[in-house]
Symmetry: C2
Subunit: 123 residues, 2 copies
DNA sequence: TATATCGGTATACTTTAGGTAAGTAGTAAC
DNA sequence: GTTACTACTTACCTAAAGTATACCGATATA
């Protein structure tokens, strides 16, 4: 006897697919090792380039520059150049960037719990 | 005159760094094109392999298999083989996997809003 | 006998992500 | 005139991620 294939109700199926599409849209913008961390660092306020380089552990100037550019294009981050010498550049979240608060917070909270769990398992 | 480097208060700095570490921990497990989508699809309940292949648009058997294995190793997903013919295999979120609810939800909600925004800008 | 299903695996390949290292302009301090 | 600072850019390279396609055993169906 062949396994009966429990068909998902079309309504449920399309609902799930639609939501996966949304997740995909979000990931398209946030994917990679650095973007979410960069946004995370900017939730603490305006930052200068070198400041972020120090804060986001392990990131190189190349990656920071590249990722910030993409975030700027997607209107999540605002870049402001100040006429000091040498020039200073400030990055901050746009209002739209700030709408990612819940995502960042969720990821951060889960990460904290996850780290605790891993450490507990090792001991 | 050189720009004065506004030093961040050590307490604020370490707090930010600590939180970025947590975000990094979370991302280590969830990074890539598919993992979050797979978990997202499982928030709707148990799924069989082929069912997921249909649901997660564009994923190949190879990737689905690979990603599910990694999620299983990290105890986010449980795999159950049923003795039907042909065999059926069910995947579901573990209790620990379910703790990602907030993250998935946040990403999904943001994705929905983001898609609306993009469509609006195009018109 | 031929074909289909389920849950994959094997192999080969292409693409993208990310790292390394060096260099840049403009200014200013030593 | 050499060095230092800020905020990058460029060229190059590797490793990881992802894709395409064919195939597997067991069984059931046409």
């Amino acid at each position: 006897m062949a396994a009966t294939s429990k068909l998902v109700h079309p309504k449920v199926f399309s609902e799930c697919s639609k939501q996966l599409l949304a997740i995909n849209d979000a990931l398209d913008i946030l994917r990679g090792k650095w973007k979410i961390q960069i946004i995370g660092s900017l939730t603490f306020g305006k930052k200068r380039f070198t400041e972020m380089q120090r804060e986001v552990r392990g990131i190189t100037a190349r990656m920071l520059s590249k990722e910030l550019k993409e975030l700027e294009i997607n209107e999540l981050v605002l870049r402001t150049v100040h006429n000091t010498t040498p020039v200073t550049v400030e990055y901050e979240l746009t209002d739209y960037g700030k709408t990612l608060d819940k995502v960042i917070e969720g990821l951060r909270d889960w990460g904290v719990k996850h780290r605790k769990r891993i450490i507990k398992k090792q001991s």
